[in-house]
Subunit: 347 residues, 2 copies
Amino acid sequence: MATLARLHEQGFIDLVARLSRRSRVRPLIGIGDDAAALALPARTRVLVSTDLLADGIHFRSDRCPGLLLGRKAIAVNLSDIAAMGGAPHACVVAVGFPRRTPARYAADVARGLAQQARRYGVAIVGGDTCAARSLVLSVAVLGLVEKGRAVRRSGARVGDGLFVTGRLGGSATGLRLLQRGVRADENVRVRNTRMRPGLRPHVAAAIRRHLDPEPRVLVGRALGLTGIATAMIDLSDGLSQDLPRLCDASGIGAVVEEAAIPIDPAVGALLKGRAALGIAIAGGEDYELLFTASRDHEALIARLARRLRLPVARIGEVLPRRAGIRLLTRDGRYRSMRRGGFEHFRT
Amino acid sequence: MATLARLHEQGFIDLVARLSRRSRVRPLIGIGDDAAALALPARTRVLVSTDLLADGIHFRSDRCPGLLLGRKAIAVNLSDIAAMGGAPHACVVAVGFPRRTPARYAADVARGLAQQARRYGVAIVGGDTCAARSLVLSVAVLGLVEKGRAVRRSGARVGDGLFVTGRLGGSATGLRLLQRGVRADENVRVRNTRMRPGLRPHVAAAIRRHLDPEPRVLVGRALGLTGIATAMIDLSDGLSQDLPRLCDASGIGAVVEEAAIPIDPAVGALLKGRAALGIAIAGGEDYELLFTASRDHEALIARLARRLRLPVARIGEVLPRRAGIRLLTRDGRYRSMRRGGFEHFRT
């Protein structure tokens, strides 16, 4: 089997460059020099973010097809730009491959990176490929946002509604299925599941949510440009961790209505009621957007959601800080929301 | 011993933020939101580059003090901006730490990152810290360069002189010393060497070149702004690999005079003649700048070198492509220059 040891260091990044040539953004200087050079439009702000995916932590290379890994590395970065209301513009990719990596796997990763970048009109303008003990992909992305239009975590006001795009819990459910031995190819065709045929589409849907998340770029942009969102964050670590972050940054509290949390239909089909709700609250990596907006904008948000064909649910309300972060249960009681999402470094 | 498992994920990057607060560049939005936001001056070009350092490949965490590792991760990225004639502006840092990493080591890395960024007036505006199987540091840097002033690898013209800043071979010599068991602390005080006292300063100097390289930002900027450099590249993989890259990009050949290659005094002191020359030619990670310039500018370059107190040597000349890349030996013979530097993935 051909391994990366036979591939010249420059080979991988040249492959990415070749595959992503048709991007809409044209750098003045692209891959192949010491740095890329970009001419950015005047009067816009430049957003910068970085996210690293490490084998054994964020993914398992033996379970994650290379194509989807490449796509995800771009997607999780675009999600950060989306959460600021920005338009992703260009990115650089640093990849460390163990020497034993099959050349085919590396080529699939390159294809996934290029495909996702092209899909969102982002140019891959530079990169670094090297050997590493364990597979890592680090992407840094540049986005553009109009002056004064970046949506911060800190702008939520008491009385604002609390909204979430899409549906929650799918990604964490997909991860559990993978951990239990279900496997999927790069088209997310599911193998070796013993579930009954009626559940299989849900299995595939959950695994797709985990392996191939969609950054909410369009809705993030719309919420930012229109000024609808007063604060926004992407749900990378789960509602129970990311909501407290938004609350801390804004100096507010919040109440979330259990009954209003939009649970991914795959989660509903595969897990029982309480477990489904739990994973929708504490599960990470849905990459949906959590935002706050004035009550006056509720109708506007509903119209936007219909237009973009993406559900947006009002899940609660912003309270004064002293109220803390509460969950209103279906039987009308309040409980405090635990920070229970995925945390690295936890012992 | 406290390990990172006890440090909250956000802790590391908050520490970096706290340590680098006094940077000259002030982002509109810094660390702590989904992305940073920058207001960049109009009419400049934005340079972007990324470089990843992986444990066991680019460094060994058991031999490289955390402070110096943090500094180096920034330095190697700044070197790419320097090679374009740009001014480094801001960077983002993604770090993957094994769970067993001592908290002290991580704090040292944070200190090194912040220290180096501050030294070069660069803002650390974002980051991602996560667990990883093996320690990796990935930095992406943004630089600014005036319109039309970016120095590419491709602008060398036949008849141009070939120049190199500083002195070569020190870093590769330092690496060999580390491989042979010499150890240094974060102040590059050398331990357990059995060399005679007269050689010890050279040992320390070589190890410093390897563990704590200085990006040539100032001279790169001067060579770009003045238009002196027609093509430029930083010597990360060694003259014998980086010169061919510059030649390929410019479609030229070159002759290098052995006698003109500036050998690091530490190398001269520690190695014999041929070996010293060999390591100056093929050794990597000196992070000096290799550039071409018209002969008319030779006096100007000498003046610039004196002013910046950095030696700049004319080591050869640009030839037509068909001449290939030759080395003129001390005894007046020509030999073809092998690509003999450090290459990843080589079996």
